[in-house]
Every structure is written in C-alpha cells, then in structure tokens.
C-alpha cells in the first residue's frame, strides 16, 4: 500500500511538473472551469435554499384560498360566499381577507397593502415592511401619503417597521386597519379580496375544494398543496433561471470535452511517446493523465463550490442581484438559510469532475496504445 502510494506521489509530481511547463494554458483552463462550477453551484445552492425556505414558511399559508374570477380575472368576492362555504361539511372557518396593490408614484415602488386579522395600531396608522422603509427612507412616526381611489391624498402614520428578518415575506408589505383599507380603495363592507378557509381534516382539502367549485362556479379555490408546489416548480431545474444557467454550463462542458476528446497536442503526444520509450507501461501513462484531469477538475471543483457557498449564503447572492431585481424598486435581500446537503454536492461533483477526468483519459489511452516510435514521429 505504502509502495503504491509512493508511486502515485511520483506520478503526481511528474504530472504537476508537466502542468507547470504549460502553466498559462492550464491556469486559463482552471479559471474558466472554476467559474463554471461556481455559477452552477451558486444557482443550485440558491434555488434549493429558496425552495426549502418557501416550503417551511408556506406551511403557515391558509389551507384553502377562494378567489372569485370575473372574465378570467381575479375579482372582489362577496363576503356572503363565506356563509355558503361554511355550510360544507368539514369546514371549520371561513374568513374574508383584504389585500391589494398600490403603486407609489413618488418612489416608483409597488406596495402590497394588507389587512391583518388583528391590527393593534388602530385606524390612521400603518406598519411597513423593511423594503418599504428602505425605499421611502421612512422611520417610525413618519407619515406616508396615499392617493385614494377618489383622488384624495390621505396620510398614515408609521407605527411600526417590521423586522429585517421578515424581508423574504414582508419586504413590500404595508399593514393597515380594515376601515382604512376600505376607505382608500372604496371597497364596500360586503366585498373582500378573497376568502381563506380552514378545514378539520387536511386530507379532505381536494374534496372540499371541489365542493366549493361545484357550489360557487365563479370561484377558484387554491389549496395549500398547490401553494407549496408552486414554489417547488418555480425553482426546480426546469425553471427559467436554472435552465438558462444549466444550458450555459452544459455548453461550456461540451467545449471542454470537445477540446479534450479531439485529441492531444503534438507536444503531449511526443511526451507520451518518450515516456513509453523509456519503459513506462500504458497503465502508467493513463495514471498520469488521470492525475492531470484530477488536479485540474478537483482544484476547480473545490474552489468553485466554496466560492459559491460564500457568494450565496455569506454575500446574499450579490452577483444575481441585477437579474433578481429586474425593474423592481423594492426587492428583498436574499439572506437565505443555508439548506445544503451532501446529495447536491455529489450531483455537482458527478456533473463537473467526472466528465472532465474521463475525457482526459480517452485520448491519452489512444496515444498510449500506439507504438512509441510512431507517436514521436507524429
């Protein structure tokens, strides 16, 4: 074992010397390779952490949300629908929910206005999300003006700024009293934005949702399972962001593999010929080429994965910011909880290290099995 280890160390030493002779080429290769791994790992870490966080947070989402659709669009729902739904066996409560959007022409930002069930600050006051506070430069006791649907300017006093940790849920939220919300948007008492339904047995959710559609055909019930699945599918590998990056990386790897599989340079072939001429076995040459691939791919893999972890979980995915921000004025800082597992890193390893190492060995095997004299003569 010790002898084998020493032999491998000698082969590795020789491989590193060969790599250093062509250091410019290999440095460029490692840099590009590291960037590809970094990009792929960053997207994998980011989307996986976001999916896990969404799955955890949205466990608290309503069991069923009932919307009313008019001409294919989400419309206000009569609160009387709640009485009809409450009659369905298995339903424990039906509560109207009030929420909507407001475009602030002063700061160019979109807010989500929402009425919590218990709003302790009372009418005339609001609680704002950290993103709203940041975009408008507001603090507690400042006032925030809103144009009502009747064209009147109404101001509300900021009574609370939601904690920074709530950003992923509440960055753009403005919480207010029901009477203020109704007055601002001129929504009568008998209408609500949607209804939220609680049931006794969660396994009955699809049945109850079907009964709601049957009873009230102009409504669309959305069950919690669908809410959870939405975020799972949005950030799955087939999603826009991941697919785009995946395609770019696959293309980069095709270029790598093409470069390697299309054969060795004349210098590399001569080197193999000399090694065979001085008594190296084909297996020794293959081991050397294996180490060459391993040095390049393992170095790139380790640096790329560690840099990606730092980027996503320490640097709040700063490089993705311009993509994620889009045209939005309010956007959360993605301080994600590092949900990573060995499976992800293993997938990344098999996607990046294995194909490169294999594509290094194949042309070397072709060159190493030819007569050394023929190889050296080219």
């Amino acid at each position: 074992m010790r002898r084998w280890f020493n032999a491998q160390r000698h082969i590795l030493e020789l491989t590193l010397s060969a790599l250093l002779r062509r250091r410019g080429k290999y440095l460029a290769l490692v840099t590009v390779y590291t960037l590809v791994v970094f990009l792929l790992a960053s997207v994998m870490f980011f989307t996986h952490a976001l999916r896990r966080e969404a799955a955890t947070l949205l466990e608290g989402a309503p069991e069923i949300v009932v919307q009313r659709l008019v001409a294919g669009r989400h419309d206000l729902i009569p609160t009387a629908y709640a009485d009809a739904i409450a009659e369905i066996r298995g339903v424990t409560s039906v509560r109207p929910a009030l929420w909507g959007y407001y475009f602030d022409p002063i700061f160019g930002a979109n807010y989500t206005l929402l009425v919590p069930e218990e709003f302790t600050h009372g009418p005339g006051n609001i609680a704002i999300g950290p993103g709203v506070a940041g975009a408008s430069g507001s603090e507690v006791d400042y006032i925030l003006p809103f144009w009502s649907s009747e064209g009147r300017l109404t101001s509300y006093t900021i009574a609370e700024i939601l904690p920074a940790e709530s950003e992923l849920v509440a960055a753009d939220l403005i919480l207010m009293a029901a009477e203020d919300f109704r007055a601002l948007f001129d929504i009568p008492e008998e209408l609500a934005t949607n209804l939220t339904v609680s049931v006794r047995n969660p396994r009955e959710l699809p049945v109850i949702a079907a009964k709601i559609t049957e009873l009230l055909p102009d409504t669309r019930p959305i069950i919690r399972d669908e809410i959870l699945r939405t975020y799972d599918s949005i950030f799955s590998w087939r999603s826009g962001l991941l697919m785009f990056i995946l395609m770019t990386c696959v293309l980069a790897f095709i270029i790598f593999a093409w470069d390697k599989a299309s054969g060795l340079s004349a210098e590399e072939r001569r080197e193999i010929g000399i090694l065979k001429a001085i008594g190296w076995e084909t297996s020794d040459v293959l081991q050397m080429k294996f180490w060459e691939g391993a040095v390049v791919s393992l170095s790139s893999f380790l640096i790329g994965v560690l840099a990606a972890y730092g980027h996503v979980f320490v640097g709040s995915s700063g490089l993705f910011e311009p993509v994620l921000k889009g045209w939005a004025v309010i956007y959360p800082e993605f301080r994600l909880v590092p949900f990573i597992d060995g499976y992800q890193v293993a997938v990344l390893f098999f996607l990046t290290v294995v194909p490169y190492t294999v594509s290094t060995i194949v042309p070397a095997w072709r060159a190493a099995t030819v007569d050394p004299d023929a190889v050296m003569r080219g």
């Binding site: 608290g60 940790e165 959305i222 004025v329």
Partner: protein, 98 residues
C-alpha cells in the same frame, strides 16, 4: 516530491473546508431556526400565500394567486415585458387539472 506534497496539502485543506462548509451550514440552520419560526408565524398571522421575491408585476409577486391568463396576456397580443417573468414560469396548478 515538493509539488506533489503541496498539491496533496491543498487537497486536504480544500476537503477540510468543504467539511467546514457543511458544519457552518448546520450551525447557521440551528441559529436561524427562531427567525424561520417567526417568519412562518408571520405568514400564518397575515394569511399570505407567497414570498416577497419579485415586486415588479403582480403575477410574480403573488404567483400562487395569478390568473390563469395573466402572464403574457395583460391585454390581447401583449408580450411579457417584466424581467422576473422570464425567471419564473407560470405555476403548475394553472395549467394542470385538479
């Protein structure tokens, strides 16, 4: 053998850092548990259905609540013009039968 030893040391340090990455992730998850629970409680209290990821369009702010025909169809023949619309596809439940 100087170079081989240096590379093996680099590999060992890299693997140790990789192990450290998992340890850091586990510690961070433990430390973040109260904040995560507070956020889940906020979702429960406010009865929200979506995370606040993209605020530029209503169907990317609340993809769960989006109309079946909203993305790409704000008006007849309209094209998608918000960058976040190309980052997230329409949710599966809009196109699948229950």
């Amino acid at each position: 053998m100087k170079r081989a030893n240096a590379f093996l040391t680099f590999l060992a340090v890299g693997l140790a850092l990789l192990g450290g990455m998992f340890a850091h992730a586990a510690a961070s998850r433990r430390a973040a548990r109260p904040a995560l629970e507070a956020r889940t409680e906020l979702v429960r209290r406010l009865r929200t259905t979506d995370l606040c990821l993209f605020t530029e369009a209503r169907y990317t702010r609340h993809p769960v609540m989006a109309d079946v025909n909203t993305p790409f169809q704000d008006y007849p023949l309209s094209i998608e013009h918000y960058p976040s619309g190309s980052l997230m596809p329409p949710p599966a439940h809009l196109s699948s039968e229950r």
